[in-house]
């Protein structure tokens, strides 16, 4: 898709010039997007409009631009972005362009180059024709970093046209919507992503196990619907505890009763797994024979467990260096098409920070604040589904693993 921005100024509304320019664009088989329009307040005031003109054929675009110029619509001269080599490891040059998770292109040597995997809060590094989002700590001396906003173009997420399965939801966080319908639609999105060869990522909080949703998530992993798991020490611990002890944080996952001395159950399980050396080793030794982590190990589904200050143990698989944890997640994210954030606040936000805006993200939580928090931190694509994660995942299993 070739596109350029044109600007037109004058009495363009009353003279029908804007209408004419738009008609000419469409007649040429191209399309336009109004980027900005300022209409004069009085008859004498001038109006101004900026249009992005796009077409599949770059030659047709060039001749269309020539034609538009006759009517006073001039191409907005865009200069190349400034590239500055980093002078220290782990430090971006002053004035660096700070990224969003939206599709981004940068003009280099007169050409628009797309950012390969958009990620928010990074710098942009140009290397051998490729433009990538690079977090600050991974910058190396000599990396060519985009500085300033000149020559950088960000595309807002496209609004789906026509009948959109979610169009009935006018609020992004939805507690007053038919849940069965939502579950069906999320299932359809997962199916479609898998059909397109995209990966499905699950981000799980410990409440998944506390609320009894563990077996449903395990069933989804077993049936091949989940390709990637991000969680913390808590989720994995309680999943393993429930397998070995039948409790989650000392509470029976079947009867709901507190087990005697149950407060130490998870510590004993962590201890044994530390003795085995890893979760995979514990599965191999037969210590673990079911649950989400078990299914992940059995099916070779990669998982990243990110640690935190308050972790017990932690499990030997937990990344205790948060920067390493984020890098491990980052490494696995390319190819993800759907992300399910299940009853997770901190890991959901951490994951949201790494995902391109194009990834369909569903945030399932009983607390509407989680989806709001996610959106407030820049993951505007996240759709909040306010419901109990146990009910939601069992519904998903009904849809996907009949």
């Amino acid at each position: 898709m070739a596109s350029e921005t044109v600007e037109i100024e004058g009495h363009i509304i009353d003279s029908l010039i804007l209408a004419k320019v738009m008609d000419l664009i469409l007649a040429a088989g191209a399309d336009y997007r109004v980027l900005d329009v300022a209409i004069g307040k009085t008859n004498i005031d001038l109006s101004r409009a900026r249009l992005e003109v796009s077409t599949t054929d770059p030659d047709a675009l060039a001749s269309l631009l020539d034609e538009l110029q006759v009517h006073g619509a001039n191409r907005v001269v865009t200069t190349d972005a400034e590239l500055v080599p980093a002078d220290r490891d782990g430090v971006l040059p002053p004035g660096f362009y700070s990224t969003t998770n939206l599709a981004t292109a940068v003009r280099i040597d007169g050409r628009w180059v797309d950012v390969v995997q958009p990620e928010m809060d990074c710098g942009l590094v140009y290397d051998g024709g490729r433009l990538t989002s690079v977090p600050m700590h991974r910058i190396r001396v000599g990396d060519l970093v985009v500085v300033g906003t000149e020559g950088v173009r960000v595309s807002p997420p496209s609004r789906p046209r026509g009948t959109h399965p979610f169009e009935f939801m006018n609020s992004e966080v939805s507690s007053e919507k038919p849940k069965a319908l939502l579950v069906q639609q999320v299932a359809a999105r997962i199916r479609r992503a898998k059909d397109n060869g995209a990966k499905v990522l699950a981000v799980c909080g410990p409440a998944v196990i506390h609320t009894g949703a563990g077996p449903s998530v395990a069933a989804l992993v077993r049936a091949g619907w989940i390709d990637l798991l991000f969680a913390g020490n808590g989720f994995a611990t309680h999943d393993l505890e429930s397998n070995v002890m039948g409790t989650s944080l000392g509470v029976s996952v079947t009867s709901g009763a507190a087990a005697e001395g149950g407060h130490s159950n998870h510590l004993r399980v962590i201890n044994e797994i530390r003795r085995c050396g890893s979760i995979a080793a514990a599965v191999e030794a037969g210590y673990i024979d079911g649950g989400v982590m078990y299914e992940c190990v059995q099916r070779g589904v990669p998982f990243v467990l990110g640690g935190s200050v308050r972790d017990d143990g932690p499990l030997p698989d937990v990344y205790t260096d948060v920067v390493e944890a984020a890098d491990a997640m980052r490494y696995l994210i390319p190819g993800v098409g759907v992300a399910l954030m299940l009853a997770s606040t901190l890991h959901a936000i951490a994951t949201g920070n790494l995902l391109p805006a194009g990834v369909e993200t569903f945030c399932v939580d009983i607390n509407p604040a989680v989806a709001t928090k996610l959106a407030d931190r820049g993951s505007h694509q996240a759709l909040g589904i306010v419901t109990d994660v146990g009910l939601f995942t069992s519904g998903l299993v009904e849809q996907l693993v009949p």
């Binding site: 100024e9 004058g10 009495h11 363009i12 009353d14 003279s15 029908l16 010039i17 209408a19 004419k20 008859n43 004498i44 001038l46 006759v70 009517h71 006073g72 001039n74």
Partner: protein, 266 residues
């Protein structure tokens, strides 16, 4: 106005100009003197600009620029054949104590030939001789609302071959020279148009000068004449056939100096 001492068809920059056609200098002088007399008779006072040997089209003073009260916006000619006229025009207006306001370099605009007031609005044309991009500058320089009209027929290469405003409601118009957007804009602007037939337009009926209640025309058909008289105008036809050889009529030979944009005619 500028006497045709050096007027000749020296080059071809519009479809009417053919270098093989020789303009008769004597007849041109006679026609021009007659036009001056007719305009004076109608009540106009005529100021004279000295002709210059190298600039035969200087007779077509309509293209010198745009007059707005005591402000003068000099033309920026499309063709090098006429670009030298601007220094002479600026000198003349400066000598008359006009304030000169320049359009930026790089945009073409051929004066009142391509910009005529209709009511409080300045109708400005573009494509052949003037650039659409000049219109926003014109509006800024003169503080006037502008309507941009695209000319589509090269035989009507200037707006004043397609439009002659008579008063705030009426005008002689040749829509055949405008694109459909321009036609729609003009329709909204002029409640009572006198629409020329193609052959009337091609005889430069619209290239007329209005002085008070008199319309001075290079040619007129009975139909057009009757309508103008019904509206209360006196019609005087002035033979300017020698100048038509260069693509200019009565209007092109004059530049109104008593124009203040934004006020309207009546």
């Amino acid at each position: 106005m500028c006497p045709p001492r050096y007027f000749r068809v020296a080059y071809e920059i519009n479809p009417w100009m053919v270098r093989e056609v020789v303009a008769d200098a004597g007849r041109a002088h006679e026609q021009w003197d007659n036009l001056v007399a007719v305009l004076r008779q109608a009540g106009a006072s005529v100021e004279i600009q000295e002709p210059a040997e190298d600039w035969p089209d200087l007779v077509f003073t309509a293209n010198a620029g745009i007059v707005n009260g005591r402000q003068f916006v000099p033309a920026r000619f499309r063709h090098p054949e006429r670009q030298g006229e601007t220094d002479l025009d600026v000198a003349w207006f400066s000598a008359q104590d006009f304030t000169v306001s320049d359009l930026p370099l790089g945009v073409c605009q051929e004066g009142a030939g391509d910009a005529l007031p209709v009511g409080s609005t300045l109708v400005a044309a573009y494509r052949f001789r003037s650039d659409a991009a000049s219109h926003a500058y014109l509006s800024r320089l003169t503080g006037t609302a502008v309507r941009s009209i695209e000319l589509v027929d090269e035989r009507f290469y200037h707006l004043d071959l397609t439009l002659c405003p008579l008063d705030d409601r009426r005008a002689i118009v040749a829509p055949l020279g405008w694109d459909r957007y321009g036609c729609a804009v003009m329709e909204a602007l002029i409640p009572e148009p006198l629409v020329l037939e193609p052959e009337e337009a091609l005889r430069f009926c619209a290239n007329s000068v209005v002085v008070g209640g008199t319309v001075v025309m290079p040619s007129c058909t009975p139909r057009v004449g009757r309508q103008l008289e019904a509206w209360g105008f006196d019609v005087v036809v002035c033979d300017v056939s020698e100048f038509l050889k260069a693509g200019g009529g009565c209007r092109c030979l004059t530049l109104a100096l008593d124009v203040t944009l934004g006020l309207g005619l009546s």
